[in-house]
């Protein structure tokens, strides 16, 4: 359990973290989401006793980090991946880390195997490590003390798709073992697939603290259904019928429809009634990306120029009921 109470950090006139009060519960993956510069890393550094809060408290299992005697047995963290002496091998780096907390050499070998670094990779000096290997080494370091609380700052940075999938499985399995797992990211799509719960911040302020599904549902009107079929005429008939049932229907090219306001079951039943052949009927969850944009609107430090709204490219036009 990580407890933040009125956590605040100012750097001169800039407020990086602004009165953050949140509990990160065990047993689930909590996504820590926010645009770059939102204060995610600063918050994590305060939890780890590296930065001093200007006000408020950050506690791990009820205690400030600086009071822990053997902290690696309580909290593991991936913070500065690749922060390793350029001439020191990954194994020696882990070994020094382990020894500081009375952890044996055998555990070093275990975590190296766990993150998929073989003997040759572990013997390489720090300066030759790739970003992905640095991430794996950092995760190995986080797991050394078998801690009940884990913090991962942008863990998928620099990883290939296999590595990304591996991180996803790892964080889920760690949470399933009852640990507290906090994963920060600015990649909303990644969080959507990994996190059970989301803590969203913007400009250092708490914007949302809710289950992922709720954040997604709250950010956009509703989930939609994607329909594909071989006959444009049949689809047009179906579209009119759906609109008559109260759905909002958009054409998605000549062979597709996007239906909002009805379930996929209902859309399928109506297509069957009308005898319209379908090749695809897919419920589409509203994307976290959209929800995130809606939530953090106005709290992005460097807002980009307004772009076309997501999900409505030129081929989309609304079909009205007749």
């Amino acid at each position: 359990m990580i407890t933040l109470r009125g956590l605040t950090k100012r750097f001169g006139p800039t407020t990086a973290v602004d009165d953050l009060t949140v509990d990160i519960a065990p047993g689930r993956v909590t996504g820590f989401l926010g645009p770059n510069g939102a204060g995610k890393s600063t918050t994590m550094r305060m939890v780890l006793g590296l930065d001093r809060p200007t006000a408020g408290r950050a506690l791990v299992d009820g205690r400030p980090y600086r009071e822990l005697r053997h902290p690696l047995h309580t909290v593991g963290a991936l913070l500065d991946a690749g922060a390793i002496h350029p001439a020191r091998s990954g194994r020696a780096h882990l070994l020094a880390t382990a020894r500081s907390n009375g952890i044996g050499r055998r555990r070093v070998d275990e975590v190296l195997a766990l993150v998929g670094l073989d003997d040759r990779a572990a013997a390489k000096p720090g300066r030759t490590l790739s970003l992905g290997m640095g991430q794996r080494l950092g995760i190995a370091g986080a797991l050394l003390g078998d801690p009940p609380v884990l913090l991962f700052d942008e863990p998928v940075n620099g990883l290939d798709p296999d590595g990304v999938r591996w991180i996803r499985q790892l964080t889920r399995s760690l949470a399933a073992q009852g640990r507290t797992v906090l994963v920060s990211s600015h990649l909303m799509s990644e969080m959507q697939q990994t996190a059970d719960h989301l803590v969203v911040i913007g400009r250092g302020r708490l914007i949302a603290d809710a289950p992922t599904s709720e954040v997604i549902a709250g950010g956009s009107a509703a989930a939609s259904v994607r329909v594909r079929g071989p006959q444009p005429a049949g689809l047009a008939t179906l579209a009119r019928r759906l609109a008559g049932d109260g759905a909002v229907v958009e054409a998605d090219g000549p062979h597709g429809l996007i239906v909002t306001g009805l379930t996929a079951d209902r859309v399928g039943d109506l297509a069957y009634e009308l005898g319209v052949a379908l090749h695809e009927l897919t419920p589409v969850a509203a994307s976290l990306e959209q929800a995130f944009m809606a939530l953090t609107d106005g709290s992005v430090e460097y807002a980009a120029a307004p772009a076309a709204p997501a999900g409505s490219p030129a081929t989309h036009h609304r079909i009205e009921a007749r």
């Binding site: 550094r45 780890l48 006793g49 590296l50 930065d51 001093r52 980090y65 600086r66 009071e67 822990l68 005697r69 053997h70 902290p71 690696l72 047995h73 909290v75 963290a77 913070l79 500065d80 922060a83 390793i84 002496h85 350029p86 001439a87 020191r88 091998s89 020696a92 780096h93 070994l95 020094a96 880390t97 020894r99 500081s100 907390n101 009375g102 952890i103 555990r107 275990e110 766990l114 720090g126 370091g141 797991l143 078998d146 499985q169 790892l170 399995s173 760690l174 073992q177």
Partner: protein, 266 residues
């Protein structure tokens, strides 16, 4: 995939022992430590050899039997420290500035959140290694000096051992001073400049005019105090006072380093 392959057991060793073990592992797992020691050995052999040649050449008496044993090996070792100390204090210096450079200090502080404990562990390891290196350098320096001086040299066993022990102690304390300063200043280059100033340039400038008050002030500087301790002279204070002054500087540097670590964000 199961991360929980190890049973969670509380470590038996205390956190300071762990921090010391970690520093020990870090020190010996980079090649620069070995290069530092090797260069210190070569430098010390060269310096002792050169000083011994000067001593032998300065004696114009053609018959060595007249001035037998006029230079002790220990004094050559001690004089060579003026140069070799800068190679050896790199061990204390790099123990912390390398961590700032590679951004690994955060990892160190996550492993050992007590800033004082981190510095104490670093001081213990670099102090012990520097002391050991000092013994080695002293031995090498005495051997070289003895070979070069030949009959001009004097090698009383007790005195030589005392001088080698004293120079090892001096180096260990200067190493800790470098560690503390490096923690405050963060940059290796800046720290070396400040060390040069504190050990040599400032006290030399103070002594230069020959004004009593300024010379007294210079006597309080770590290099001069260490010099009095090494020389074993009674003027202006007994050697033990020189030792205590030097130790005080090292301790003050550590305290300043601890304060810097505590108040700065890592």
């Amino acid at each position: 995939m199961n991360a929980r392959t190890a049973t969670r057991t509380a470590p038996t060793a205390g956190p300071l022992a762990g921090a010391v073990a970690a520093e020990w592992t870090k020190l010996w797992s980079v090649r620069s430590t070995w290069w530092t020691l090797l260069s210190a050995v070569l430098l010390s052999a060269a310096a002792a050899g050169q000083l011994a040649i000067y001593a032998a050449n300065a004696n114009t008496n053609d018959d060595p039997a007249d001035d037998r044993g006029m230079v002790t090996l220990g004094s050559v070792v001690i004089d060579s420290l003026e140069l070799t100390q800068y190679a050896v204090l790199a061990i204390g210096l790099l123990a912390v500035t390398a961590e700032f450079g590679a951004d690994t200090l955060r990892t160190t502080l996550r492993c050992t959140p007590s800033r004082g404990r981190v510095l104490l562990a670093k001081a213990a390891v670099s102090g012990a290694v520097t002391f050991g290196a000092g013994l080695l350098l002293g031995g090498v320096g005495a051997l070289v000096a003895g070979a070069v001086l030949g009959e001009w040299g004097d090698a009383p066993v007790g005195g030589t051992i005392r001088d080698v022990l004293a120079s090892a102690t001096y180096l260990a304390l200067v190493g800790v001073l470098a560690l503390g300063l490096g923690t405050v200043l963060r940059s290796a280059v800046l720290t070396v400049i400040v060390l040069l100033a504190v050990l040599m340039i400032v006290p030399l400038s103070l002594q230069e005019p020959g004004i009593a008050v300024l010379t007294r002030i210079a006597d309080a500087f770590p290099g001069v105090a260490g010099g009095h301790f090494l020389a074993g002279d009674a003027d202006p204070y007994p050697p033990v006072v020189g030792l205590l002054l030097l130790a005080g500087w090292a301790a003050a540097a550590l305290v300043a380093g601890r304060a810097a670590l505590r108040h700065r964000d890592a």
